[in-house]
Symmetry: C2
Subunit: 298 residues, 2 copies
């Protein structure tokens, strides 16, 4: 008999290890326990984070030492990108099985490249769930974070078809829509649709706050509030993203700076405002048509 909220399909993995129980790692853990209560979830993080994860019944086994992952058949690296890369080098010592390894980092080329050094008993496929929420950390994790959202996979090389099938079914049960993307194409697209908006929003909030102080912030409509939702994103994750994708983010920033400069030079005329606003309005309408707001997203 199937319990309410659990999946009809048997768990594709018996023991899933998740390193890094922030918003994404924590939400994956919660979703696994919801859909497959019999699946053992092993959490690796700092003690205070593990404590919160245990209290939320997100994990069954908790340790700050990666050796606890020894028997995992799926390892999910959910720390910031550069830590994930460091962890890849430790897997041979920590994991004794023929595990599938994936990650959830926001850039893919450097991680996919580093994973080439893994022992052949592991199968690595880079992953990137686009489940974002305005605030990070295990306390904002929720099992439905991925429902209706894309989950990108960047398989590299031969002989990963079976593992890809397995991971795709896994994230589909979590409610996500698996997509396959080339690692370089992933990083170029994400530089524009994710990294550029984040850097722009942070720079905007910084410039506005510095120029007007709280007096100005008190005199705002909804526009600034909506436009700066991303400005509370933590620097630590974004330092890694920017370093590992600098060659794609740089040109994206150049594009935006050029358009802002064109608007600045054309403030007195209609031409530039018309050109940019008309294009922006059309793309925004397409984005709205493509976006399916999910439950609980604000």
């Amino acid at each position: 008999m199937i319990q309410p909220g659990t999946s009809a399909t048997p768990p594709p993995f018996d023991k899933v290890a998740i390193v890094g129980l922030g918003l994404i790692g924590g939400s994956i853990a919660l979703a696994i326990k919801q859909h497959w209560p019999s699946c053992l979830v092993i959490g690796v993080d700092q003690k205070d984070v593990l404590e919160q994860a245990m209290l939320r019944y997100a994990i069954d086994v908790a340790a700050d030492d990666p050796v606890v992952m020894a028997e995992a058949d799926l390892v999910i690296l959910a720390a910031p990108v550069e830590q994930n890369i460091d962890l890849l080098a430790e897997l041979d010592d920590c994991v004794t099985t023929r595990a599938i390894i994936t990650d959830v980092g926001s850039t893919k080329r450097t991680t996919v490249e580093a994973a080439k050094q893994l022992p052949t008993r592991f199968t690595f496929i880079g992953g990137h769930p686009l489940g974002g929420a305005p605030r990070g950390g295990i306390r904002h994790a929720r099992p439905d974070l991925f429902v209706g959202r894309p989950w990108l996979f960047t398989p590299d090389g031969e002989a990963v078809a079976e593992a890809l099938e397995c991971l795709s079914g896994f994230v589909r049960t979590l409610g996500a829509e698996p997509h396959v993307v080339d690692p370089a194409e992933h990083d170029r697209l994400l530089a524009f649709v994710s990294h550029l908006p984040q850097l722009t929003t942070s720079a905007l909030m910084h410039v506005v706050g510095r120029a007007t102080g709280e007096r100005g912030l008190a005199l705002t409509g909804r526009g600034l509030y909506d436009a700066t939702r991303l400005a509370s994103s933590p620097a630590d994750i974004w330092r890694d993203i920017c370093r590992s994708n600098a060659d794609a983010i740089g040109p994206a920033l150049d594009d935006l700076i050029a358009e802002l400069q064109a608007l600045r030079d054309g403030l007195d005329t209609n031409t530039e405002i018309n050109r940019v606003f008309e294009s922006a309005g059309e793309w925004r309408a397409k984005l709205a048509a493509l976006s399916k707001p999910t439950k609980g997203s604000a």
Copy 2:
């Protein structure tokens, strides 16, 4: 006996003329009829807009000719900024009373300056309700648009104390919080908290859509969706805002461009990301504390 939804206070004006029944003008009309059903609301706009306003019971008298305002004791100019300035020059011919005149434009210096030419029987006080919503037009108008939002007044010169008192009471009944600001200070602050975010958002959406197309837009998290909400704003209103406040918006754009360039040059290091993200996070927290989300705002 007071009807549900109506105000206990008598209407401060008997006949209110509103020129321009878009989101703001239409919402003011709806709010007046809700709070003071006995107040006569005269709408001036194009015929198709007037028709929609009549169907929503927002106005009692409709005409596309401003002579219909002859006996108004309050005239609210709610067209784009440059049209409001043109209308100021016609008021002497159209309005025969000692009316109070106000506007709802997003920039104040040029309108306040133009109003100095009004006949002395009129009292002009510039106004700016910060009630914005993502989409304009009478069909998005609603009577609670101003509830809990600031309504800025920019009185200029002597002998407007009584009119300011009257207008403040008027917008307070509409649920807004009246504030008095110097016109130049208004335009400088709004260049940062409103005009810069709008231009940045439009430029961002344009750059992202152009670079990635629908393929990229389909692979996004909530971040881009939230960050580009303003990108559907209409160009016509913003052309006037940019022209009438170019000398304040220009330096604001310069500030942002300089910060984006600093981030671009520092993508490989921690220093710039740390500096901008930490400042942005602090200002965003202050903005969130100052913002009181209103009913129905998305």
